[in-house]
Symmetry: C2
Subunit: 476 residues, 2 copies
Amino acid sequence: MAIVKNEKITSRDDDFAKWYTDIVKQAHLAHYTSVKGCVVFEPYAFAIWENMQSVLDKMFKETRHENLYMPMFIPESLLLKEAEHVEGFAPEAAWVTHGGKNKLEERLAVRPTSETLFCDYYASIIGSYRDLPKLYNQWCSVVRWEKSTRPFLRTREFLWQEGHTIHETAEEAQEETLRMLNIYKTFFEKYLAIPVLVGKKTEKEKFAGAEYTLSLEALMYDGVSLQSATSHYFGQKFSIPFNVKFVDRNNKIQNVYQTSWGASSRMIGALIMVHGDDNGLILPPKIAPKQIVIATIRNDEKVLDVASKLEKQLKEQGYRTILDTSDKSAGFKFAEYEMKGVPLRIEIGPRDIANGHVVMARRDNGEKEIVDIDTVVERAKILLDDIQISMYEKALKHTKERTYTCTNLDEVRVIMNTKPGFIKAMWCGDQECELKMKEIRGMKSRCIPFEEEHISDHCIVCGKKAKHMVYWGIQY
Amino acid sequence: MAIVKNEKITSRDDDFAKWYTDIVKQAHLAHYTSVKGCVVFEPYAFAIWENMQSVLDKMFKETRHENLYMPMFIPESLLLKEAEHVEGFAPEAAWVTHGGKNKLEERLAVRPTSETLFCDYYASIIGSYRDLPKLYNQWCSVVRWEKSTRPFLRTREFLWQEGHTIHETAEEAQEETLRMLNIYKTFFEKYLAIPVLVGKKTEKEKFAGAEYTLSLEALMYDGVSLQSATSHYFGQKFSIPFNVKFVDRNNKIQNVYQTSWGASSRMIGALIMVHGDDNGLILPPKIAPKQIVIATIRNDEKVLDVASKLEKQLKEQGYRTILDTSDKSAGFKFAEYEMKGVPLRIEIGPRDIANGHVVMARRDNGEKEIVDIDTVVERAKILLDDIQISMYEKALKHTKERTYTCTNLDEVRVIMNTKPGFIKAMWCGDQECELKMKEIRGMKSRCIPFEEEHISDHCIVCGKKAKHMVYWGIQY
């Protein structure tokens, strides 16, 4: 672990954006580069990403998905084949025009997403229903030439996985769309300790080219919402222009039904903004690169001996453990690992040893307890499990407190200007009313939940007959 | 696993290049795309790559390297900072000139390799010797706009890892350069079952911008050599123009000493060309996506019962096992998994069950044996271990048979036109003589081995005083 300077960071209640940037810098997560809008994912952030990858990848493989790798370049003509898709992605594509000294005959987009490449591939490998389904995923980076950027939340290049599947029937593809959304939901709740809303995006907010988009929405500490993962159902919208056909069970030629789904390094941003505090990151044990730090306070022989025995025992139990025996002051050491968000700290000094105990400190709530040396390993398990659950519950409580039911725009305005969060409100289904909502701090519809509540009969904007209950929120 | 058409492939002795392409296609390893020179890494090839990654990544982490992720774009001005480097890489760079509709102020190269980005990063994070060494690695794809391409061996985009480290002293950096070469050597010999030559590249063949390049060279079945991994020592050649400085232990300001090292998806090509035969791939057990296939011959209840019990037992022992109970003919099934190179096949039919045994067939040498059902698991371990070793020994024997000691160019010409391989010959150190050697089927120096033999006093080309013994060979 790199050395953290023991400086104070901005308070998150004073300036949330500045607090975020301070953490990104001081926990050594991302570093700006000479390419505007692109960052280095530093080792500590990348270790978080690797843990996310490893859990998600296992979940994907358990549901029979296979990894592969598509080229990063998309010929312009391929990107142009589906009209809505090109409209959504061409304006923010990075274009390769030259290979060495030669101008290319056709320019190439650096992939903003890979539906078009997958379709091109499908078309040449699918013959009959016996070849279906194909359940693919790839881990890669994608590029979108955004104007304003922020590390992890919106960068020109970011890391993600994109799942792409094709199926015999619409039903099967739609089941897949929902299955993958639920996998993300489980991952967010059980691993990232982040509660999420799930539902369908409105027409205006769906993915460019999809029949519909399902989405995961999470509320950050400052009440701003973050679209955290999405799962798209395409029907035959790509398979028709891309000519992805198969002979079905009735010997008829049909186009396949398609899905895609993705989650990105934005999840690192969510971890920071949901759990972090004024001392730095707070990482859920299941994702933390280091779950336990053993920090020695004064290094005599006995202290070092006990500390390294404990390190060994904890590692044997599978805990990602780090032992810091450096001669920095206790206060400095503690602050360092607090900044890094290590869930559990074990403090060992000569006085502790003399009394046969150590101190165990939780990062999530700061509680300290004195623990008999012989019971440290079993206590670590209990504490780490409890931290994981408590972090989720705390975030859930915050989300609930910041979820409001509204029936008029004045209410919404007051809330959004004081203590923003999710707004539950009725909607007539017209895009015009969505645009009106946007006038309030750029609010957007987050999703139409699968189980809608009946709040009133009328659209909160125009007063006409309501079609749906919608979650609204300011977004990153 | 995708379905393999049970077609004959070209014999490797008739047309090695065609044989290679046939395997790539029929084992579903790579698929051409509409971007010239870029391929889809299909799931089976990608699974091989994931196994390679997982072993190498562990070896890197055990030697204290950390993963991170650098942007894929390099501003032209950054690439231009080291003269030899730009000369080597700029002519084959893919250039991004537009973001969305806007022309970029400065064009960006899609990374052909990332020394320049790492230097830019180092310069801003290094202060004193206490910050050193930095031992980084990243897994990513890189782009080189090559004219003629072949799947895995030379594609415009390929997968690799690139390690980048900086150190206080030249000695330490040179130790690292050698350490990483040895890690690759271990990986090739113990995991890929591929024997390698190790040594130093000549000035002409070293990496653009390096002080020197160490390299791993392997001989393919057809006697052509493949540069299989490289490890570069840069000294201060980048750290001076990039201004990567630190305060040393004597309180003096110095530039860091640097290395980089890489291995790529070309290793998949090496696996094919070293081990494969006219029935398809032969994969070493330690890297094979599936180590054992259980193929049922006629599916009655007993057969299915025994087969799935065996599958369970083998999986419990950690073997990557696949059970194929489809109703394809035995011959078809066997050919399918032979094409995929699965090291061990277990055949189970009603007659076997009646006799309390199964048949176990090795992919590497085709040997079959009858094994008591109760001893299958222990026998599998013995066979897989033996396959791993035998494959290495067979490749080593081939390499030795094809390694020649020569003292005149006529000998070299005859060998290279009949049964090519590695040529050991003396060299005066002049580039002119290297170029003369190139006239024989494009031969190049492979490396100067760490322990040179004394073959004669004279350069094989010009007859002047020899400086080095060099391995020479035709290359991919």
